[in-house]
Subunit: 255 residues, 2 copies
DNA sequence: TCTCCGCATTGATCTGCATCAATACCGCAA
DNA sequence: TTGCGGTATTGATGCAGATCAATGCGGAGA
């Protein structure tokens, strides 16, 4: 049961059996962290990279007066911290949203793995570029969409990402976010998030209760959101080396 | 007169004379591009990286109905495209805002330079991480600040970045942006940008006419914007190798 | 010099979303 | 079972910023 990270990196750059073994060995320092705890504090000097094995976390920024903005979600297979430059100082914090199982890869181990395998190096580059693409999309999401579109877009993205790591149900996923979290993600007040969710429900676009998100008609939600999944298909290096990467269609991987 | 890129990379990772020479040689395919032209079209498969030598450009995204969001500005010394993974497919477009002088570095040349020098590799990593940090900040800017704060923050960032490449005057800079550009950057209508600019002027925080931005009291503007420049200080690996890196200093390694 | 065009500016009006303030609900622990 | 704390929901009201519609202005080209 290699963690999602290896599968993801493999899709990015086609790892050899050796590569996978090497990566597998990196993941040794594993721990559970309770919900609602910080994994990284802004300003810390990291000498290692975290790998999320289970659970959700988020990267956020805060300004003096308490306003908070979530700038990314971390799900299983995602890195936590900024490889592979050490020591690196991060300008955001990371907090768990659920209990999280996280592994720590020490700087030197990661660097030496990258030294030994150009495929591993390439895979980490691509992973970073993929997160970057998501970040750009978030900027655009908050900057130019309406409340309804923003939330719809967020849900489309989340489901697509979770599907890629096999964490979805047939037509939805578990969504461990409060309405406040959602608001801090898309730049809306909690109250307005609530009302917008009800609109989406009323329109039959989603169902959401008890942290279970169901999207009966993904295409419909995508249309509302103006969601174009290509930015999630890793920077689509050799775009056809594997699964149907493209636009519409079924997205992502069976695995 | 080595272009700004080399100076920047040098600050990131401390290049050797050889490194600099190698980089210098990369920059050969140079051309001028007129204002208001696309340098990169969304979906293109890049086999090279551009380097902005002179002028301004911007990365932007568009959705069907014509709404547009600027997600980044490129100024001299910035890369245009996503090194160093090729071919890479970008999910945004790049347009010139002024006439731009741009060099193209072919994929193989860049990769071989990175192969030969770990410092160069490291420098490119850090440059990418720096852009990423800016993108995160933009997400937060649009997500949680008011109109006045957003524009103030944008100006603080721009001046700080320009200063790092020596393109500022004593207390300001040239700003080749229309009010429409600014609006598409921070998620506001043109009209409201205009009014907010006037507010900032009335408050004595800025002066802006004929593309000349003057900030008489940077600290004051920074306070309004809740601007914290640390995210611009490259991931501040060796934080004290040069100019006052701002805030509290400390941390990190002399390397 | 005049004319044109893109950009900046101004006013009037509308609305999406914030804010304030209760109230309802649910899971949990005693 | 009861009570409690965090989350969701609902209503009422206010405002930041959008939208619509002119008008002004400065620079480039004839």
């Amino acid at each position: 049961m290699p963690h999602h990270l290896i599968r993801k990196l493999d899709r990015y750059a086609g790892l050899s059996a050796d590569d996978k073994e090497m990566l597998q060995r990196l993941v040794c320092d594993v721990a559970w962290v309770a919900s609602d705890h910080d994994l990284i504090d802004e300003g810390a000097a990291l000498r290692q990279v975290g790998v999320i094995l289970d659970g959700w976390a988020c990267c956020y920024k805060q300004i003096e007066d308490g306003r908070r903005q979530i700038v990314a979600y971390l799900i299983p297979g995602d890195l936590c911290g900024t490889p592979p430059v050490f020591p690196s100082i991060v300008n955001y914090s990371v907090a768990t949203l659920t209990p999280v199982r996280v592994a720590q890869i020490p700087a030197h181990a990661l660097l030496s793995a990258m030294d030994k395998s150009p495929r591993i190096t390439r895979a980490f580059w691509l992973d970073l570029l993929a997160s970057f693409a998501i970040q750009r999309e978030w900027t655009a999401n908050v900057g130019l969409r309406t409340a309804r579109e923003r939330i719809a877009h967020l849900f489309c993205e989340i489901v697509t990402r979770l599907r890629a790591v096999g964490l979805t149900t047939a037509d939805g996923c578990n969504l461990p976010l409060t309405q406040e979290d959602i608001g801090e993600t898309v730049g809306l007040s909690t109250v307005h998030v609530n009302r917008t969710l009800q609109e989406l429900r009323a329109a039959g676009l989603i169902s959401l209760k008890r942290q279970q998100l169901v999207i009966p008609d993904f295409a419909a939600l995508r249309a509302v959101a103006h969601f174009d999944s290509t930015y999630l298909c890793r920077s689509r290096l050799e775009a056809d080396a594997d699964p149907p990467p493209a636009a519409m269609a079924g997205s992502a991987v069976p695995a």
